[in-house]
């Protein structure tokens, strides 16, 4: 279980997170919703170690992650699918996938077949450069790439952003499959309400760097939740 406890995060003088606490259970999809600029991505940066927190603790399966570099967190089983995909543009699809070998033991250095069964399009594009793929293909590659590291928790930052609906469906299917088949925890940050409602087991809503709502997916339809989400 991932526990974020009372975390503050600053960019210089600007504070992006104020005492944020969430937890994401294994085998569950935890979804964080919020408008633009409320600190969702900052939360994920704190979780993945891309930006230091100024207060609070982050722990995963009982181990405190604070102070660990991103590559050490990857070794602890945190897989990251960032906003905008951040595919290595000049590496081939195959090489993008293989870049996930770094934290693995020698015997695990292979690409799991399930990646290709979830995203068959990747199999046919192994030799193409990552940067030459379309946005949807890149998103699939980004998830596949994170899966290569055999994560125990998958952290996704707005995976539906700028993606055509048919692929959004594929991605939703994949996320659900991962939860069900591997029992990993999934922490999903979204703006797209419907996608969240369909997938999430647990939801949080953020506003101005704070958690303002917490509950099961169904609670999203309450008036209070809507108030936080409308622009």
């Amino acid at each position: 279980m991932l526990t974020v406890n009372n975390v503050n995060l600053h960019y210089g003088a600007a504070q992006a997170l104020r005492g944020v606490s969430i937890h994401a259970d294994m085998g569950k999809i935890t979804c964080v919703l919020g408008r633009n600029g409320v600190g969702k991505s900052s939360l994920l940066r704190a979780v993945t170690g891309q930006h230091p927190v100024s207060a609070g603790t982050i722990s995963f399966q009982g181990e405190v992650l604070n102070g660990l570099a991103p590559y050490n967190r990857a070794k602890h089983g945190i897989g990251y699918v960032p906003q905008g995909r951040e595919i290595f543009p000049l590496l081939t699809v195959q090489e993008n996938l293989e870049s996930g070998y770094a934290p693995l033991a020698r015997k695990d250095k292979f690409i799991p077949d399930e990646i290709f069964s979830l995203f068959p399009v990747l199999k046919s594009m192994l030799g193409r450069r990552g940067g030459d793929l379309s946005g949807g293909q890149q998103q699939q590659l980004a998830i596949g790439r994170a899966m290569v590291t055999r994560p125990k928790i998958l952290v996704l930052d707005e995976p539906t952003e700028g993606i055509q609906p048919s692929i959004i469906k594929d991605i939703g299917r994949a996320i659900r499959y991962l939860r069900d088949s591997t029992g990993m925890a999934i922490l999903l940050v979204e703006q797209y309400l419907d996608f969240c409602r369909e997938l999430a087991d647990q939801v949080y809503i953020m506003d101005r760097g704070e958690i303002v709502h917490e509950g099961a997916a169904e609670t999203l339809d309450t008036a209070e939740a809507r108030r936080h989400l409308t622009v």
């Binding site: 891309q50 991103p70 990857a74 000049l90 590496l91 090489e95 770094a102 030459d132």
Partner: protein, 541 residues
């Protein structure tokens, strides 16, 4: 080489002296020993005559003495003006009788005086020795003798050559002797027809030397032969023209391979990592100094390994410069990622410090780095001359290129390296230890610069300034080829090398270099990302 030859000749002559006493005694009247002793008082002109007389004895026992004379190993004893072959033995000379080869005891260094020798005398000796060894039983010696006569032809050797040709069984030696005879014949008083045939022989022999021989001889030849000489020269020259182009391409490729060597480390540190590494040249310099130190150790402790010195120096240089690179990355550069233009300032400072460090340790002067024997000399290919060291350097730089390509494309380190340079944060989240990859990438680039230094020490001087002379060229190559692309560096280096060498004969070396720079500037306007710019959606992504 020369010592080996000397020993071989020496041995053979002792043998032949024993085997053919009648021949040895049958020379002209003068006593060889007194002729040699006369050298102690002779000036250059008189010495030349004495050598002629020595050669006229036909006494093959004199070969070691003549050889020693040409090597500057002939001494006379101050006390009695007797001449000996001297060999250094501690603070003394071991004296050897010049005719019999018997030891004549030792003498203190200041008790003997060296007999002076100059280039003209060496030429005369070469010719004389050629004559004396043409009938040697050893094929190699005969071949060398024929070569010697060919290079210093004289009419006096003509009859001897003809005797030698009639006895010769080995095809190559015979061919060489026939050429030597033809050359010698031109300066003799033989008939015009014989000379005409000789001109044909020389024409078939071909090459630059043949032109020289014919032009040199033409003045003293019978006027009726002038047409033959001109035709022969014209024919050789037309054949030579194509070879000249080939030779020029070769020079270009060889210059290109040097540029490639100099630039390839930079293609990593600058091209891949984006660090404007002004200390790159100093890495090359450190590699060259590593070679020097390795050779120095070998000279002192295991001279027999000298031919292996470069092979030993390669890993040493790689490790030394790689380690220095590692320290520089950890100490300075890691704070500057994302500020490429500032890496320029810091590495410039590093380069000043490295230069001064080397200057303080080794002094400002050139250090001697020797060529192993397999990198010395040259061999002909048709009408071209290929020098061994250039040949090895081309092979070496191409193999470094291939090796680097394999590391980049096939190894997991190469993959991590490329991932980090394309997106450092994301690579870290994929579990790649970015600081480790950075440090080792820089160390790799530096190490490669270091092994380039091993090769460059073979053609350039090893001084603290070595790096400075390559740094600008290296940047030009990488930028011209296209940053971030190893193939660009290869093609860039080779094309700049060839271009330079084709400009050089027509406009001179200085203007040629300026023109190349101007062309690069113009080229960058046309293709701002270099020759092999990365294209497609991938670049913008």
């Amino acid at each position: 080489m020369m010592i080996k030859f000397f020993l071989r000749v020496f041995f053979l002559c002792v043998v032949s002296a024993l085997a053919l006493p009648s021949y040895a005694q049958s020379g002209a009247g003068a006593d060889p020993r007194s002729l040699i002793d006369a050298l102690s008082k002779a000036d250059f002109g008189e010495a030349e005559k004495l050598i002629g007389q020595l050669a006229a004895t036909g006494d093959a026992r004199l070969v070691p003495a003549l050889n020693a004379f040409s090597e500057g190993d002939l001494y006379f004893r101050k006390s009695d003006n007797l001449v000996f072959i001297g060999k250094s033995a501690g603070s003394n000379y071991e004296l050897i009788d010049p005719v019999t080869g018997a030891s004549a005891g030792q003498a203190a260094k200041n008790a003997v005086t060296k007999i002076k020798i100059n280039n003209s005398l060496r030429r005369v000796i070469r010719s004389a020795m050629g004559g004396l060894t043409l009938l040697s039983p050893d094929r190699g010696v005969r071949l060398q003798a024929a070569d010697a006569v060919l290079r210093s032809p004289s009419a006096e050797n003509l009859e001897l050559l003809e005797t030698a040709i009639s006895k010769e069984t080995d095809g190559e030696v015979k061919a060489r002797m026939v050429e030597a005879r033809a050359v010698s014949l031109l300066s003799s008083d033989r008939s015009v027809d014989e000379k005409r045939a000789a001109i044909q022989t020389i024409k078939n022999y071909g090459g630059r030397n043949a032109i020289g021989i014919l032009m040199g001889a033409s003045a003293s030849l019978d006027p009726s032969l002038k047409a033959d000489v001109d035709a022969a020269i014209a024919s050789i020259e037309s054949g030579q023209r194509l070879w000249d182009i080939g030779q020029n391409v070769w020079y270009g490729v060889s210059l290109g391979s040097v540029l490639l060597l100099a630039a390839i480390g930079l293609a990593i540190t600058f091209g891949v990592m984006g660090i404007i590494n002004m200390a790159h040249g100093e890495m090359v310099m450190l590699g060259a100094y590593s070679t020097f130190v390795v050779q120095q150790v070998i000279r002192d402790s295991a001279p027999g390994l000298f031919d292996w010195s470069l092979a030993i120096a390669l890993p040493v240089a790689f490790l030394v410069t790689g380690a220095v690179g590692f320290v520089i990355e950890r100490g300075v550069i890691r704070f500057l990622y994302g500020r490429p233009l500032e890496t320029l300032l810091a590495t410039w400072g590093v380069s000043l410090i490295l230069q001064q460090t080397i200057r303080s340790i080794f002094g400002p002067t050139n250090q001697e780095v020797g060529n192993p024997s397999w990198m010395s000399g040259s061999f002909p290919v048709g009408g071209m001359t290929i020098t061994w060291n250039r040949m090895w350097i081309i092979a070496f730089s191409l193999s470094i290129f291939v090796a680097l390509l394999v590391v980049m494309k096939k190894s997991s380190f190469g993959l991590n390296m490329r991932a980090v340079t394309q997106n450092r944060r994301m690579a870290s989240s994929m579990g790649i230890k970015t600081p480790w990859v950075d440090a080792f990438t820089f160390a790799l680039g530096s190490g490669i610069a270091g092994i380039a230094g091993v090769a460059l020490s073979q053609i350039d001087n090893v001084s603290p300034n070595l790096g400075q002379s390559y740094i600008i060229d290296s940047f030009m190559v990488v930028v011209f080829g296209g940053v971030g692309n190893l193939w660009g560096t290869l093609v860039g280096a080779l094309s700049l090398g060839v271009l330079n060498k084709f400009l050089e004969p027509s406009v001179g070396a200085v203007l040629g270099k300026i023109l190349v720079l101007v062309l690069i500037i113009l080229f960058i306007q046309k293709r701002p990302r270099g020759l092999f710019a990365l294209k497609g959606r991938a670049v913008e992504a």
